[in-house]
């Protein structure tokens, strides 16, 4: 009954809204397919403003793949940063999950005095912007001799508080009796986690993985601060180094950067939604 068919004006509004929301992304996908001569009108005012403003052709007059060719065939450094990103994100996700799942399980299941306090500490640190802890992390990493190594980016992210928070939500769902009954049946805690916790909390874990991936694929401040060799840069740092003066390449690279994010989004959208919902409903 809530779902009336009175929707037509609403639909139109929604359609407009959706187009507006998607517009930048559409632009990001179309522009790289334009020939360089067309893109000149769009890009050169940004580099060298001579009174002419940027023009954008929504429908390319001369569609061509030359930008992608320039990027994918003639720029091997692109692959370097691409695999850097993938490697770093993959490592982080893997170990992050390995570390966060037991911790979240412990928070969900255990009852000890410091639990609330510890959890609150986690939450507080989770809320801090990177810049606040940036200094302290720098000092620690420098002391460990990890500066300018990829580990400097990977390690702090692995031990981040955010995934613990998200996965905890997923575990907190599970009714206590189910776990307890398994314990009574003689399983130790690890087995409970493995056979009961994981399947039931799967959506939470997957949601966390998806959200983390999208966040990490995007990561800019940490590599910028902790890495110095350009050979170790992730894709998200490669893009800013190309300015508007190499705009064609940048547009093509940006479009290619979108692809894995889109893939992950499509694959994990359901889990994502569920995870978000779970965190809301928990209360």
């Amino acid at each position: 009954m809530r779902k009336n068919a009175s929707g037509l004006p609403l639909y139109i509004i929604m359609a407009v809204l959706c187009t507006a929301v998607l517009f930048p992304v559409i632009l990001a996908v179309i522009l790289p397919f334009q020939a360089q001569s067309e893109l000149k009108d769009t890009l050169s005012p940004l580099v060298n403003f001579t009174g002419k403003y940027s023009r954008v052709d929504l429908l390319p007059q001369y569609p061509s793949t030359e930008n992608f060719k320039e990027l994918l065939v003639y720029s091997p450094e692109f692959y370097r940063v691409f695999w850097n990103s993938l490697l770093m994100v993959g490592c982080i996700l893997l170990f992050q999950t390995l570390v966060a799942v037991p911790a979240a399980w412990a928070f969900a299941r255990a009852e000890f005095r410091g639990r609330r306090l510890l959890f609150n500490v986690y939450v507080i640190f989770m809320l801090m912007p990177f810049q606040v802890t940036m200094l302290s992390q720098y000092l620690v990493l420098d002391g460990m001799g990890l500066m300018n190594r990829r580990l400097a980016v990977i390690l702090p992210a692995v031990f981040s508080a955010f995934p613990v928070f998200l996965i905890y939500r997923g575990f907190a769902d599970i009714p206590r009796d189910v776990a307890d009954s398994a314990r009574i049946d003689g399983a130790n805690e690890w087995q409970v986690l493995r056979y009961i916790g994981l399947p039931l909390g799967k959506s939470g874990i997957l949601a966390c993985v998806v959200i983390s991936f999208l966040d990490l694929w995007n990561m800019v401040e940490q590599p910028l601060t902790f890495l110095r060799d350009k050979t170790k840069y992730p894709l998200s740092l490669y893009l800013p180094t190309l300015g508007a003066d190499r705009g064609e390449l940048l547009l093509a690279a940006a479009a290619v950067t979108l692809i894995p994010a889109v893939f992950v989004f499509v694959i994990g959208q359901e889990e994502l939604e569920r995870g978000i919902i779970a965190s809301a409903l928990k209360e």
């Binding site: 692959y79 050979t231 893939f263 499509v266 694959i267």
Partner: protein, 463 residues
């Protein structure tokens, strides 16, 4: 349905990643193929070695040239280049007969010359005048004659003269009568004009009369030599001078030369035609041969061996900057077979015209007077120039271009980028160009060879 999309998405993602993996390798291959491979070389900063070679001869420090009057035939030459001679010894003998005839010729020439009066300078020439309109009967002197003051020069035709006088008297009388008539007619103006005419005519008559009294002779007004006789018998005298007398004759340069030549010839004749050496030493030049006619140049050059050997030559203008007095140079003879090293330049003076005369005293046993020798030295420029091998430079005239590489940190590691720079070629030394105007630091690496054509901004690999 949703599962389907998801699994399809997973599959596509996998394909995507696989494609990226393949392209990683492929793109590296392609770009490596396209990248030119270069070899590099550093910039050497060196002084340019400039080789200076100047040809010349070995002379003695002290040498005496022997000159002989020209135009005489040589009958015998007793010495040749390289022979030693003592003071007063015979060098050569002139053909005596030829000598005698030449002397006679010269004397005759002098005489004729004197006669022509060209022997005398323009100086003071006194003109001789006489009345015009008289016929010359006889000319008593000719050009070149010496005359005394009052000597008759020209005799005039007296009969002609007397007739003329009579005519003039008659004219005068009638003119006088006319004048009287005018006075009576009280035409004083015309009478006055006529009076003037009559006076003039009377004066002319007086002059003619004086000539008549002199017997119709024109006498020389001073002592001297007749340089010009401007009239001849039968002519009618005119306003201009009839003769010119020179009262202070002097000899001209020409006459002087002739006189000296005659003296030289006579002296040679005294020595029976022998020319003797004025000094002892080595004959370093002997330009006459038996049978030749002598010329103006020195017939012999006698060098005093003990005075020391000297290399002399002319340095061309463009090489002059590399040499200066006090430099140590190497003098070599016979294409380098004999060499005296480290000889110091003692003199450099500008001759008129091109080049600079250079003298280098030579101390060497092996080098002899008269040898043709070469001054060789390699001068290192004071300034140091950037030197780049030939193959690294594309040269056009005196300008050139090179490529150099800069290092950059790229995403794949170290990258090398080429840039273009222009320069000015100063000189070639060895197998390199010495250049200027190249604004690069000394550690810059210059591209020597490249496997492909280079352009500014290209990335390259080091080979």
């Amino acid at each position: 349905m949703k599962e389907n999309t998801k699994s399809r998405a997973v599959k596509f993602f996998g394909i995507f990643l696989g494609a990226m993996l393949i392209m990683t390798v492929v793109s590296r291959f392609i770009v490596t193929q396209k990248m030119p491979v270069v070899t590099t070389v550093g910039i050497k900063r060196e002084s340019i070695a400039h080789r200076v070679e100047v040809g010349g001869t070995i002379e003695a420090e002290k040498q005496t040239p022997v000159f002989v009057a020209e135009g005489l035939r040589v009958s015998e030459v007793y010495v040749k280049q390289g022979s030693k001679i003592g003071k007063g010894e015979h060098l050569m003998r002139l053909d005596q007969d030829y000598l005698a005839s030449e002397t006679a010729n010269a004397e005759k020439e002098l005489e004729e010359f004197m006669e022509k009066g060209d022997a005398y300078t323009d100086g003071d020439r006194t003109p001789v005048f006489t009345e015009g309109g008289l016929r010359v009967l006889q000319v008593c002197v000719k050009k070149g004659d010496s005359v005394y003051a009052g000597q008759p020069l020209i005799r005039l035709d007296t009969e002609y003269l007397s007739r003329k006088i009579n005519d003039m008297e008659g004219e005068l009388d009638s003119q006088r009568l006319t004048r009287d008539g005018m006075y009576e007619a009280e035409d004083s103006r015309s009478a006055e004009a006529l009076s003037n005419q009559i006076d003039e005519k009377q004066r002319e008559l007086d002059r003619y009369n004086s000539i008549w009294n002199d017997g119709g002779t024109v006498y020389s007004p001073c002592a001297g030599v007749v340089t010009d006789m401007l009239i001849k018998a039968g002519d009618i005298t005119m306003e201009q001078a009839v003769a010119l007398i020179s009262s202070s004759p002097e000899f001209s340069g020409e006459a002087e030369r002739l006189r000296r030549r005659i003296d030289g010839l006579k002296k040679a004749a005294e020595h029976l035609g022998y020319i003797n050496s004025p000094a002892g030493g080595l004959i370093t030049e002997a330009t006459v041969r038996a049978g030749d006619l002598t010329s103006e140049a020195a017939a012999f050059i006698i060098s005093d061996e003990s005075s020391g050997k000297l290399f002399t030559g002319i340095v061309p203008d463009e090489e002059v900057e590399y040499l200066k007095v006090g430099d140590k140079v190497s003098i070599s003879v016979g294409g380098g077979s004999t060499r005296a090293k480290d000889q110091k330049i003692s003199l450099m003076t500008r001759k008129g015209g091109d080049g600079c005369r250079i003298e280098v005293p030579v101390e060497s046993e092996d080098i002899k007077l008269g040898d043709m020798a070469e001054l060789v030295t390699t001068k290192l420029s004071d300034e140091r120039y950037d030197c780049i091998p030939f193959e690294a430079v594309t040269a056009e005239g005196d300008k050139g271009k090179v490529f150099y590489i800069t290092e950059a940190e790229g995403f794949l590691g170290k990258e090398y980028i080429v840039h273009s720079a222009s320069l000015r070629i100063k000189e070639e030394t060895g197998n390199m160009y010495a250049v200027t105007d190249l604004g690069l630091t000394p550690e810059t690496l210059i591209v020597r060879t490249s496997s492909k054509k280079l352009a500014e901004g290209m990335k390259v690999r080091l080979g």
